[in-house]
């Protein structure tokens, strides 16, 4: 079942549990970001150090290759850019523009 701010007490699951595992994915934390990590595909060697050190599970990896960044959840901490080996530096942090 989908629990919304309109859900009344009769519909809520008993005991205060959350029945929908992993639904925090539906919550967007990308709006917290002030700097956006931009990855240079050409420079990236897919060492995956950014992936293993990401606090927000936001480095998208498929078949052992980085295929993108999950901007819905990335908070822009910049650990990925910092951890990227000095000789490679495939990720740069760019200020977010607000409309």
């Amino acid at each position: 079942m989908k629990i919304t701010p309109e859900t009344g007490w009769k519909e809520l699951p008993q005991g205060g549990v959350i029945p929908e595992a992993g639904n925090a994915e539906q919550y967007i934390t990308g709006s917290w970001r002030t700097f956006r990590p931009i990855r240079d595909e050409e420079k990236c060697t897919n060492c995956l150090l950014c992936w293993i050190h990401c606090p927000d599970s936001s480095i998208i990896v498929e078949d052992a290759k980085v295929v993108g960044i999950d901007y819905d959840h990335c908070k822009g901490c910049g650990i990925c850019a910092e951890i990227c080996p000095p000789k490679i530096k495939a990720i740069t942090m760019v200020a977010e523009k607000r409309d």
């Binding site: 925090a24 150090l49 901490c77 850019a81 910092e82």
Partner: protein, 305 residues
């Protein structure tokens, strides 16, 4: 040891969309620990940043079973889960291989939860207890804990005109748990992911209680830019403020030896919570801290030699 490429093919049990601060060490630690599990897991967490930020009703960032009960009882709560598992196994109602992992901050582990943790270790429940040690009560706004290092300014050990931040040394919890002579105890850092993941694997293989104390950088509480979390964790390891070692079946082993051992000052400089130590007459606190770090490091070298 699995490579990052191998680990990256595993399904992650913690999603994005949790509300920990940008650059938080806790979720990095959780991800690295959980990548070590090869079976289904049940997670117990004590009240704290991780629990609060990952389970705000109606959202949960956990793809696996998860229970939070209270602040001081992650260990006894997980004891109950593990007990139920043994009961159902005995009755033949489950043959699923499972592991049980607790995550708790230093407040829930060093301080208010140490009794429950000690009890669970002594009773021998097969479970892994992970302390993400960010060295203060961060969830309630950076109050000092018994894990806070000497000289650190927190909101209950502020630096003032007469006091230079916290006036006591931190408790050595890892050694306290090692004194329970449980099968596996380790100290780790998210900056050495391979060391951490291997330790978590060994901990999960242990046929009894296991404990990992993991340094968890906190940009808000330590006062550093969020992108420096991993760098600062590694500097703690290199300065021997946070040595990496394990105690497996009572055998002490250093798992990482810094090539150089920079002065603690190098680590202190990176964080605003120590800024006052570089002003006025506070230099002596740095010297005291250095002496304490050196003394404990020498002791550890002896134990692990």
């Amino acid at each position: 040891m699995a490579s990052l490429k191998q680990l990256s093919s595993k399904k992650e049990l913690l999603t994005g969309g949790h509300r920990l601060c940008a650059g938080c060490g806790a979720s990095i630690i959780v991800r690295q620990v959980l990548l070590a599990a090869d079976t289904p897991v049940v997670i117990a967490a004590s009240t704290g940043c991780l629990e609060v930020a990952t389970t705000i009703f109606p959202y949960t960032a956990w793809r696996c079973s998860f229970i939070h009960c209270a602040f001081e009882n992650a260990a006894s709560t997980l004891s109950g889960v593990e007990t139920a598992y043994r009961a159902l196994k005995k009755k033949g109602e489950t043959d699923q291989d499972m592991r049980f992992i607790a995550f708790s901050g230093d407040g829930g582990t060093y301080d208010i939860g140490i009794q429950a943790l000690s009890g669970a270790c002594e009773r021998g429940h097969r479970m892994l207890y992970v302390c993400y040690d960010n060295q203060a009560y961060m969830n309630t706004g950076i109050q000092r804990s018994s894990a806070t290092p000497l000289g650190a300014a927190t909101t209950t050990s502020p630096a003032g005109k007469v006091l230079p931040g916290k006036t006591q040394n931190r408790k050595d919890l890892t050694e306290i748990i090692a004194a329970h002579h449980i099968p596996y105890v380790a100290q780790a850092s998210p900056s050495r992911w391979n060391d951490l993941v291997s330790k978590a694997q060994r901990a999960l293989q242990a046929e009894g209680p296991s404990f990992m104390n993991v340094l968890s950088p906190c940009p808000r509480g330590w006062r550093h830019p969020p992108n420096e979390s991993i760098k600062i964790a590694q500097l703690a390891v290199d300065t021997c403020i946070w040595p990496l070692y394990e105690v497996a079946e009572d055998k002490w082993r250093l798992t990482y030896r810094p090539k150089q051992k920079p002065p603690v000052e190098e680590w202190l400089k990176t964080q605003g919570r120590f800024a006052h130590l570089f002003k006025g007459n506070n230099q002596q606190v740095i010297e005291q801290l250095q002496a304490e770090v050196d003394r404990r490091w020498e002791e550890l070298l002896e134990k692990t030699s």
